[in-house]
């Protein structure tokens, strides 16, 4: 990653892929569109053209992890169809606004679609074909902030002390995507002091459908996580809780609000946009929380 002085755009000619496809995830689409909007702005600011395949829905991870393989495969096939159309000659990177969804497409899809085709009585050749299609799509998928850290130039971090934030690295991004630390490097380069809470590698308790079916344990885990996050607020002056996985963040936010805490919770894309606009202040971060469908 190179650092470049702030200008109109941060694009370096010829060095950044000119076009990407965005997968925003069902959660961002429905309950936190601000994150996806920020992601678009940030990419465009760096001269990256964004394409949003409008047929997209959900990666199907919830179903898969709950043991509903066939239901997941139905969604996975839909995902593959949506993202392979029109890209045959010019395969673009697919940026997912969630580490966990990215991991699902990358690690789960090929085997899942192969197995499900066989289960549905398709011939072996057809199953293999699905596997190949899934692999082709999987090979193009990246988590948004890691991709940005690697491929795009960043504006110069503003002078002055970096803004401390509590950073939650989701389990799947941490353990299933190689070099997930790149995402934190990106934030640091932008003047965001992303700090992990104590016992950072411990699950926040979200776990997809686990958060619905086992609310008690799920919440006990959230409370442990939030206690350590609150320590960062107290000791390091963290102004918000952020991360690249809305599943975890919404679960933690829901718990914070139930506990009457007003600690802002936002997706990293929203912070990056603030940094791009030179508006990275505690006040502005608090306002993100009140955003709501611009």
């Amino acid at each position: 990653m190179r650092i470049q002085h702030a200008g109109e755009t941060f694009r370096k000619e010829d060095e950044i892929p000119v076009k990407v496809q965005l997968f925003v995830s069902c959660l961002a689409d429905m309950v936190r569109p601000e994150a996806a909007i920020a992601a678009v702005h940030v990419l465009e600011k760096r001269g990256v053209g964004v394409e949003f395949p409008e047929g997209q829905t959900c990666c199907g991870q919830f179903s898969y992890n709950a043991g509903y393989q066939h239901e997941a495969a139905v969604m996975a096939r839909h995902f593959v169809r949506v993202f392979e159309s029109g890209t045959q000659e010019d395969p673009t990177d697919i940026l997912a606004l969630s580490g966990s969804c990215a991991a699902t497409v990358m690690h789960t899809y090929p085997g899942l679609l192969y197995e499900d085709a066989l289960q549905q009585g398709e011939p072996e050749t057809k199953a293999r074909e699905w596997k190949k299609r899934a692999e082709a799509v999987a090979g193009r998928v990246h988590e948004w902030s890691m991709w940005l850290g690697e491929h795009a130039d960043q504006p110069m971090a503003p002078n002055g002390s970096p803004l401390p934030v509590a950073y939650h690295l989701g389990c799947h991004m941490r353990r299933l995507l190689p070099e997930s630390r790149k995402a934190q490097d990106l934030l640091r380069a932008l003047g965001i002091d992303a700090r992990e809470p104590e016992n950072a590698e411990e699950c926040c308790g979200f776990g997809g459908t686990y958060s619905f079916t086992e609310p008690v344990v799920s919440t006990a885990l959230a409370d442990d996580k939030l206690a350590n996050v609150q320590n960062l607020v107290q000791d390091a002056g963290a102004v918000c809780l952020t991360g690249a996985d809305l599943g975890c963040l919404l679960h933690l936010e829901g718990r914070l609000r139930r506990q009457e805490s007003s600690l802002p919770v936002c997706h990293v894309a929203e912070l990056v946009e603030l940094a791009d606009q030179n508006r990275l202040t505690p006040d502005q971060v608090r306002q993100l929380e009140q955003g709501g469908g611009k």
Partner: protein, 483 residues
């Protein structure tokens, strides 16, 4: 053939709540598991040669499981040649019967035991007590829970759920029963001293010893036992009759394979190069030797293990019971071992319990006690695909219709709606209606369909945005086109 496992018949919510209310347990389990995880990571980082051994060991162990029948045969020949006796127990009950017969034929009056998970699995102590033969657990943690009539809460730290005061109470009661002097205080040092002198007498008096086993070496007919307390050394050295009860999967092919794997339990379990004591038994003692059993019996237990060979779950039989997956698991750290209701808790227990018993007991484990965070996968020295297995077991549960109808309904409807853009849009409109109806009220979960209701019990439900990203994008695109 499916095996038999004992289990706690309280329903899961009851086990869960009991665990979450036990602050002593949560505190100690949290402390112990985090510390072990930390030092385990550290020791592998600083011992690259042992990391290399680990990888070799995984391959060798997988092959040994594939060759299990031949290797077991070889092991039995080797130890029988040296005058030991071996048995193959198909089911838990068979193993118990064999052990009881041996005890009866020697008119055993006191049996001492070192720690063994497989004897928990077959409920050996209960059977012996019923037959009127007292069995004394000698691992400190096991001794404590034996007095408390409980099951282990951690495979390496069985009494991790009890604090010193609770242990002192147990020891006081024991001392007054035995008419011996009680521990001097509830200091851990004093409690340990009490256990030492109390158990020392029994070690010297016992006429039969029982051990488990960490490894069986087919080539040499060796049984390996690993402890930190030294109690397995006592059990193998002192009583005249020794019975070792070991799962068939403990086999390794040869001395070279043992060399690769022998340090892994201590490395992964307690973050040391070796535990304090590694004991190897090759046969009954030779005449004139001071220590060792005159008679040695080895009971090899199947109890559902063989049936896992040649299945996608075969790698489970590579487990060395190091406890690393328990230590790394966030749910285990939260609820401890008892909440699982099985003798095998933690990620490996979630996988093994339904598998060994063909879902006869505790089928809820894979869904109820795992968030799929993959910490166990990262921790397991034997590269057992624990999260994949858990997903696969959840899938089996779906196929066998073991889930509640609410869960089924939710997941099926969800997939139906979300596999087309139109259905997806409809579901969003529906969510908005629900949201309007519920207002901004707390605990509005009643209005939410299926399993989604669970969320609202403890967390605010996120609101569907006035404008989804899809909707924003369309406007934005139109505006861009106008320009």
């Amino acid at each position: 053939m499916a095996g038999q496992l004992p289990y706690d018949n309280r329903p899961w919510p009851e086990r869960r709540d009991a665990a979450l209310q036990n602050q002593t347990m949560r505190h100690t389990i949290g402390f112990v598991t985090r510390r072990f995880t930390l030092i385990k990571g550290e020791i592998y980082r600083t011992s690259p040669d042992l990391e290399a051994s680990r990888k070799t060991a995984v391959g060798q162990k997988r092959q040994a499981i594939r060759d299990l029948p031949q290797l077991l045969e070889q092991f039995r020949n080797q130890v029988e040649r040296r005058g030991a006796h071996t048995y193959l127990a198909a089911q838990a009950q068979d193993a118990v019967d064999i052990a009881l017969n041996i005890a009866r034929s020697h008119q055993a009056e006191l049996v001492i035991k070192s720690k063994s998970m497989v004897t928990e699995e077959i409920e050996l102590n209960q059977a012996f007590e019923k037959a009127g033969i007292p069995v004394r657990e000698t691992d400190l943690g096991e001794y404590i829970i034996q007095l408390a009539k409980e099951r282990p809460s951690h495979i390496l730290a069985p009494a991790a759920h009890r604090n010193r005061h609770q242990v002192e109470e147990l020891f006081q009661a024991d001392a007054s029963r035995e008419k011996i002097s009680p521990p001097q205080s509830d200091e851990i040092e004093d409690l340990t001293r009490y256990a030492r002198s109390r158990l020392r007498q029994e070690f010297l008096r016992a006429d039969m010893g029982v051990t488990g086993g960490n490894f069986l070496v087919a080539e040499t007919g060796t049984l390996v036992l690993i402890t930190n307390e030294g109690n397995a050394d006592m059990v193998t050295s002192l009583p005249p009759v020794l019975v070792s009860i070991v799962g068939v999967e403990k086999i390794v092919r040869d001395w070279a394979s043992l060399t690769e794997i022998i340090q892994q339990p201590a490395m992964s379990g307690i973050g040391r190069h070796l535990s304090s004591y590694t004991t190897m038994i090759q046969g009954p003692k030779s005449p004139g030797s001071v220590e060792g059993p005159r008679e040695w019996h080895v009971i090899l237990v199947d109890n559902g293990r063989m049936a896992l060979r040649d299945t996608e779950f075969e790698d489970v039989l590579s487990c060395i019971r190091c406890g690393a997956c328990l230590n790394a698991c966030p749910v285990f750290r939260e609820v401890g071992g008892h909440a699982y209701g099985s003798v095998y808790p933690g990620p490996i227990g979630i996988v093994e319990t339904p598998l060994l018993t063909d879902f006869q007991v505790l089928p809820e484990l894979p869904s109820a006690l795992c968030t799929l965070c993959h910490a166990c996968q990262e921790a397991c020295p034997m590269d057992i695909a624990l999260p994949d297995h858990i997903i696969s077991l959840r899938h089996t549960i779906v196929k066998r219709h073991l889930n509640s109808s609410t869960v089924n309904w939710t997941l099926r409807t969800w997939a139906r709606f979300w596999s087309t853009p139109g259905g997806y849009r409809r579901s969003i409109s529906l969510a908005r209606v629900m949201q309007r109806l519920s207002g901004k009220k707390r605990n509005a979960q009643g209005l939410f369909p299926g399993i989604f209701a669970g969320w609202g019990q403890t967390r605010e439900i996120p609101q569907v945005a006035p404008k989804t990203f899809h909707e924003w994008w369309q406007e934005w695109k139109e505006r861009a086109e106008e320009k």
